[in-house]
Structures are given as structure tokens and as C-alpha cells.
Symmetry: C2
Subunit: 211 residues, 2 copies
């Protein structure tokens, strides 16, 4: 059965998860289209036909229009569904502020570390040390921000929370201790209780299968 | 003479330049407030009092409100001035798409490489090789996108161009050959001809002085 929306994604991609989680939370009719980024021809074909940035996720709308960048997909679905949006222009600026922070500081170092170490078994190097220090700094900022707050912006969950939750539920060992960030842990549990929440591996096909 | 807006910034920061260039292009009344990020006490004090993310640029509005993340500052100033904005909702989605791409893929690897090698004289390592490969991939995507286009989105310059121009005019040698990206070079010249354009070092005080 074809969904109303199609999402090009893969299970290991937390950036894909940001979009799939949102689709589920707003009760959209959607189906995943698996793209195997570990297979170079599939990846090249995807870049040529679907997304010049060569990135997952990419959302195909019912009219065939393609949109990419998880932050754009989240903004679009939030507008369409009238859910997980900000309460005012000022809060909307705050939501964008945390979306941007997520995209350049919160997600990338942890995601790369987890890919290299947790999925690929890489050795430690000056590169993994650099990524770990960057992840540590970003997690400290978010943990401090969440002290005394339920959600990232305002009194209700917004797409800022959904974006920043992208990599929280993967359990591969990236040798980065996230347990000490108590406010982040409590906030992750809060997001997990939203109706429609599912684990990334229950929403999207995986490229890497456990033995 | 105090400007209407105050911008916390430093000359070496291309992310600061995104905001200062925009302030100049829209003809805003503004003044720079220098923050020395190479001085740890100044940096900590800034984080405590001005921006929990500890990042430049941060814009102070006439009413004292502080906003940060260059993409938010650009969006805010574009709304206020009615300039450099998208022509439709669909183009606005495209602008956000490239703002996000800039923040997570186009700016960071080159900026870090230029900081480490161009400003700090670091040696090559697995880390600089990783950054160079990431910069190369991102520059290729932007160069291909600009083939046959004048600007990043639509027929006129938008904040997507201003954001992505953040590091184009710095000349410190990051050992990354940008000259081969001909579409990027032509687009950089085009941005340079916008009325109000100035070089970053002519807009903001510098922390590092040449001998």
C-alpha cells in the first residue's frame, strides 16, 4: 500500500529518523523508501535523480515535489499538520535557533562518532578525539539549557525537540558516555512518551543487520 | 555613536561576517561589539551573560533582546528590512534548505580547516584530511548547483547567498584549493558587487593581528 508521502531514508540515519518520527507523530500516511548509502552506485543514482545534496532524508510529496534537509521537512510537516509548531514569532525564532544548533553542533559530532566507532568499529585517533570533545561541549550546552525545562522551546514539544531527538535512541556504543547528562536523559524519556513515538529501527529498513 | 543594533562578533569569524554583511547590505544602523574568543575568561563571561550557546555572532536588538545563530539573525533582518527574502513559500523552503546545508556541511569543514591551518598553523593529520574531504564534497555540490544560476535560490540574492558567502573572502591559506570551483568564484564576485558589500576585516575588529 502506497502512502501519501514517501520518505527516502535508512534505519541507521538519525537524520532520517527526525523525519520519520515526525511523520508518525502527526499521524501522516507515509511509507519508507530504502536507499542503501553503503552501496556507491545506489548513492550516486540517488544524487542524480532525487537530491543534489546526496542526503537522506528526502521527502516526496503527493504531487511529486521533493524536499530535503530534515529541518525543512520538519517545518513543512509542522505547517501542514498544525502540530509541533511554535506559539509566537519569537518562539519560532527560538525553534529555528535550536534547529540550526542541532544541525551544526549537536547532531554531527555524535553522529559521526557513532558511525565511525559504533557501526564501523574504527580505532581512536585525533579525529575521534576531536569529535568527542565537540559532542561533549554540545551535550553540555543542551543539558544546561534543559535544566528546569520540559522541552527545548516553550511549554510544549516543537520540531526543535524532534530534530534534536534524532540520535538519542540508538544504542550502538560510540564510546561517548551520554548517561551523565541527566536533563537530556529525562527529556529523551519525555519525547518517548509522545503518542506515536517509535524506535528508529521499528520505522525504517536497516542497511546493516546484526549477526 | 551607538548603533541601533549591536552585534557581538570578531573579524576572524565568518559566521559573524554573515550577520555583519547583512546589516550592511540592508543599511542597518549598527555597531560591532568585539568579543575575544581566544581569551578564555572573556569567552566564559560571554556565555554566562549573553549567549548560552557560547557562539558568535549574537545580535542585540534595540529593546535589549538577544538573538543568535547566524541563520536566525539573517531571517530576522530580512523580515525587518523586507530585503533578501524569498519570493514564495516554496522558495522560502529552498532558502531554509540551503541555510541548513550551509550550517552543517558547507561552512564547518572549511572554517575549521582555515582556523587550524590558516590561523593556527596546525600540521596535517587524519583530522585535517577528514575536514578537507568534507569541504571538497560540499564545494562540489554547491559548484554544481550554481551551474547556470546567478544565485542560490531564485532570480535574486537571498539570505541563503549571504549565509553561504560567510567564508568566501578570507584569504588565509587553509591548503584547500578553492580556485577550481569556477561557478562558486563567479558567484562570489556577484555577491561582492551588491551595494553595501565590504570585506569582513573592514567591518569587524580582529583578535589576531598580522605582524
Amino acid at each position: 500500500m502506497m502512502g501519501k508521502y514517501r520518505l527516502f531514508c535508512r534505519g541507521e540515519s538519525g537524520n532520517s529518523y527526525k523525519a520519520t518520527l515526525m511523520l508518525n507523530l502527526v499521524g501522516a500516511d507515509w511509507s519508507p523508501v530504502f536507499v542503501d548509502f553503503f552501496d556507491e552506485p545506489s548513492r550516486s543514482a540517488f544524487r542524480q535523480t532525487t537530491n543534489e545534496m546526496g542526503e537522506l532524508p528526502t521527502l516526496e510529496l503527493p504531487d511529486g515535489r521533493l524536499i530535503s534537509q530534515s529541518g525543512v521537512i520538519l517545518s513543512f510537516l509542522s505547517r501542514e499538520a498544525g502540530m509541533y509548531s511554535a506559539a509566537s514569532q519569537m518562539e519560532q525564532d527560538e525553534v529555528l535557533r535550536w534547529l540550526l544548533f542541532d544541525n551544526h553542533r549537536f547532531t554531527p559530532p555524535f553522529a559521526t562518532l557513532r558511525f565511525m566507532i559504533g557501526l564501523r568499529g574504527a580505532d581512536e585517533s585525533v579525529l575521534t578525539a576531536h569529535l568527542r570533545a565537540q559532542a561533549q561541549a554540545a551535550y553540555e550546552i543542551v543539558d544546561a539549557h534543559l535544566a528546569g525545562r520540559e522541552y527545548i522551546v516553550g511549554a510544549s514539544p516543537t520540531i526543535a525537540d524532534i530534530s534534536m531527538a534524532g540520535y538519542l535512541y540508538y544504542e550502538e556504543d560510540a564510546r561517548f558516555d551520554r548517561k551523565g547528562f541527566l536533563n537530556i536523559a529525562r527529556w529523551a524519556d519525555r519525547i518517548k512518551r509522545l503518542p506515536g513515538w517509535k524506535h528508529p529501527y521499528d520505522l525504517m529498513p536497516r542497511a546493516i543487520r546484526e549477526e
